[in-house]
């Protein structure tokens, strides 16, 4: 399941498609104010790019984008960006998540809300992307020798109970 695909066509097609999918994901997040899109959809597309690489080239691919260990902490950072935006508005005396009260010089209230929404969407995208990648990695959590696991290579029959 975790072994890389043997076919050259699949590997090359995966490498060619993954950057395009991720570029489109970033576009969907940033352009979510003017077209259908937003943090959830863009985050899912970004995760799809990483998962495509890991499916075609084995689970060790694309570790420099999101490594397996860093996925859960980065997801919590995304959730904290969201919650922190709400706390900033609380500090200026508004309700929680009421972006309009933050006084930004030179910008009136609707544009402050505009940038608040952008920040929140960015946090959502980060959290959704890394959470999906983490779920995928945990499902492929087949201990293999190259990852340095202690009980690597143990056949499944040993683990099965009678």
């Amino acid at each position: 399941m975790t072994s890389p695909s043997q076919s050259v066509i699949i590997i090359v097609a995966g490498r060619a498609l993954a950057p395009l999918i991720q570029l489109f994901g970033i576009y969907v997040i940033i352009h979510g104010h003017y077209s259908p899109g937003g943090g959830f959809q863009g985050g899912a597309l970004l995760a799809a790019g990483v998962i495509l690489l890991r499916m075609t080239e084995g689970r060790c691919a694309a570790q420099s984008e999101i490594s397996t260990e860093a996925a859960i902490p980065v997801a919590s950072i995304g959730a904290l960006i969201f919650a922190g935006t709400g706390l900033v508005t609380l500090a200026f005396g508004g309700h929680y998540m009421d972006y309009g009260v933050v006084p930004v010089p030179g910008i009136e209230e609707p544009m402050v809300r505009y940038y608040g929404i952008l920040l929140v969407e960015f946090g959502i995208g980060l959290a959704v992307m890394t959470a999906l990648v983490a779920i995928f990695d945990d499902m492929l959590d087949d201990p293999s020798p190259e990852n340095g696991d202690v009980d690597a290579g143990k056949p499944a029959e040993d683990l099965k109970r009678p």
Binding site: G38, F40, A44, A156, P162
Partner: protein, 124 residues
């Protein structure tokens, strides 16, 4: 009669989809197939809400020049769309956790069939 079908056929298809999902959840013995039934059930509910947001002669809820936004019948109702967006994401999370549980069960007992699973659990 034609009017009736024209007004309600989408709801009927959604209800049939819901019953298909319920059949999968209740009657199938394999846990994997139960999860698939749950996904079908969930998507039928999502489709029901999106269908309820529909209006004739309206466009997607993205404000466009030339279509005034202060007449609300020009745009679809955005509230069910936002709610179902969150419901889809929760669905993905539920499916992920369900698959994780299935993998854990399979590693422990070596099967996903309900009957065999109960026997192996008794055998311990």
């Amino acid at each position: 009669m034609i009017d009736l079908i024209h007004d309600y056929y989408a709801y009927w298809a959604i209800m049939l989809l819901l019953v298909v999902g319920l059949y999968g959840m209740l009657m199938k013995k394999n846990l994997m197939k139960k999860v698939i039934g749950m996904i079908v059930f969930q998507n039928s509910i999502i489709l029901l809400f999106v269908t309820a947001a529909f209006k004739w002669d309206a466009t997607v809820p993205v404000l466009k020049e030339g279509i005034p936004g202060d007449v609300s019948s020009n745009y679809l109702n955005p509230l069910p769309h936002a709610l179902m967006l969150t419901a889809i994401v929760v669905g993905v999370a539920i499916v992920g956790v369900a698959f994780a549980l299935l993998i854990a069960i399979y590693r422990n007992f070596g099967t996903l069939e309900e009957g065999e699973l109960t026997e192996r659990m008794k055998g311990e």
